[in-house]
Subunit: 327 residues, 2 copies
């Protein structure tokens, strides 16, 4: 298989999203902090599914969403992640392959099923995520396809990988291969609670191993233990040469060693579900970066890709993104 | 279980929709008549799934969508249909139960899997459907829950049931029980090709057994073998006392024995996927009818419910419909 000259290879938890509307009272009753991602076990996943409303099923996973987004923009991509050989795993494989990504990680043939993220979307369009990692727990360093990583300009890693010990090893092996091949490493901090769980390791990673950092304001504030975004940005610039900080409806900041740019959001008629907004911002940004766009253009591509994803349930593009950036 | 005083019981093919964007060339390459529903076998379903783009999975089935819609409006509903005891069947059961419907048809424990409808949505928002009926073939008269039917003001049947011989028997048994209990029977003609397949039986049904008929313009033109809608409507009034004819973006006609009303569409910002528009129109109309609304109000409720469903992928409401008709 020809894997020459890929733009981005993503490595992450291969998850299928199960998405339903819910009201604020539902979140309160189930003790879910709105807007966050919490980890649950299989029994909790089954009980929550019983309790939640009628659902839509769509492939997800943070890095998976980013890779599908880059492919939808016309980029050449690959993905590494672990599903089981069950129906949801089959759906995940279909969707990322149909998007155009190379995906050849073998599925687990025993153990827990393909990971599910039960997502509650409240009337304010905010998403609250409950993840059963399932088969993702068996992603390990042996799954890291060195040929695929060496072939890609950027290897994109999600912070969520740190929630499983074997996946941490896979993460480090991938970063090492990429750098030894003279490639860039990008990291998404994933979630503020995830940053709290792994703060020391993430700081060390950002300082020594990450060329491009993606985070939202809550995540960098958690990383630097300050409630002051400006202070967090100033600290961040001591640690990394390039970062993009998403600020929800307030747009994003592109932070380089010599400048900070404000990037506006792309207006949409109605925000339906914010799931995947950060993942798709990263998709647009990385697509621009690998194609030689200016940092301002990269931010704008991120805004356009994020705008498509928040107009519908599910974190995979439903309109080919290349048609949205053609003009 | 208390099944007193239901508004509507629906009987139909219990199907899970698998929905992807596609371009016109894809339909041409696969020989699909745009806008129609064609029946395919399991091997064809697998080949088409491989060929189609990244997909969203959502419970469907014409009568299932209508029943979920009535429940979302605040109506009391039941559903009869056959899934298998597999993952998709589990999802179908969850979704219709979570919507609030009583669903106690036992699943098939062997034979083909839960039915799938592979839906291609073209850039003009039109849907083209390819259905593998799977476990639906085993819905039979023994599945007709007489207590449930007697308890409902209206028994709603989909014409698609005529595509399987056992389901035809189930259809007739349900209509007989409803009428013997002094209840009303409603029928959706489902699809113009379906009307062509079963025209003589449908004419006889509409004349003798149907109190409320739902169809679109293509379906009544197929039923009366005329390309002239006015002529078809005139013929229709000889056969039934109450019918609602949907006309896509041109609204609908409510046809009673003493009047014909034009009903406008409810405007939407952007039509994304027309799947389920007719099913949800029927939901609004029947909800109004069972709650004593005027025929004009019934048509308007149909337009409001249809407007919600065409703004997103999937034929089940993503916003509680009762919140849209509150004012």
């Amino acid at each position: 298989m020809n894997t020459e000259l890929l733009d981005v290879v993503g490595i992450g938890n291969a998850i299928v999203d199960v998405i339903a509307s819910a009201d604020e009272a539902f979140l309160e009753r189930h003790g879910m902090p709105k807007g966050s991602m919490i980890l649950i076990d299989e029994a909790q996943a089954e009980a929550l599914y019983e309790a939640m409303g009628a659902a839509v099923i769509s492939s997800g996973g943070s890095a998976g969403n980013t890779i599908a987004g880059i492919a939808s923009l016309g980029g050449k991509t690959g993905y590494i992640g672990k599903v089981r050989d069950d129906d949801l795993g089959h759906a995940f494989r279909h969707d990322i392959t149909a998007a155009g990504a190379i995906f050849r990680t073998p599925p687990a043939v025993d153990g827990p099923g393909t990971a599910r993220c039960l997502i509650l979307v409240t009337p304010d369009s905010e998403r609250t995520m409950n993840t059963f990692l399932g088969a993702c727990a068996s992603l390990g360093p042996d799954d890291i396809d060195a040929e695929l990583i060496r072939s890609a300009r950027v290897t994109y890693l999600e912070g969520y990988l740190y929630d499983e010990p074997l996946a941490q090893e896979a993460f480090h092996r991938a970063a090492q291969i990429a750098h030894e091949a003279g490639r860039k490493v990008a990291l998404s901090l994933s979630d503020a609670f995830c940053v709290v769980r792994h703060r020391a390791e993430f700081l060390q990673l950002v300082e020594n191993h990450v060329d491009v950092l993606f985070a939202n304001d809550a995540e960098i504030e958690a990383l630097f233990e300050t409630p002051d975004r400006n202070e967090a940005v100033a600290r961040l610039r001591e640690y990394t040469d390039l970062a993009a900080i998403t600020l929800g409806s307030r747009g994003s900041l592109v932070v380089s060693s010599d400048a900070v740019f404000d990037v506006a959001v792309e207006p949409v008629e109605r925000v339906v579900d914010t799931t995947g907004a950060g993942d798709l911002y990263a998709a647009g940004f990385l697509f621009g970066l690998t194609r030689g766009a200016s940092l301002e253009q990269c931010g704008r591509l991120g805004s356009i890709a994020a705008a498509e994803i928040i107009t519908h349930f599910g974190a995979r593009p439903q309109t080919p993104l290349r048609t949205l950036v053609a003009n």
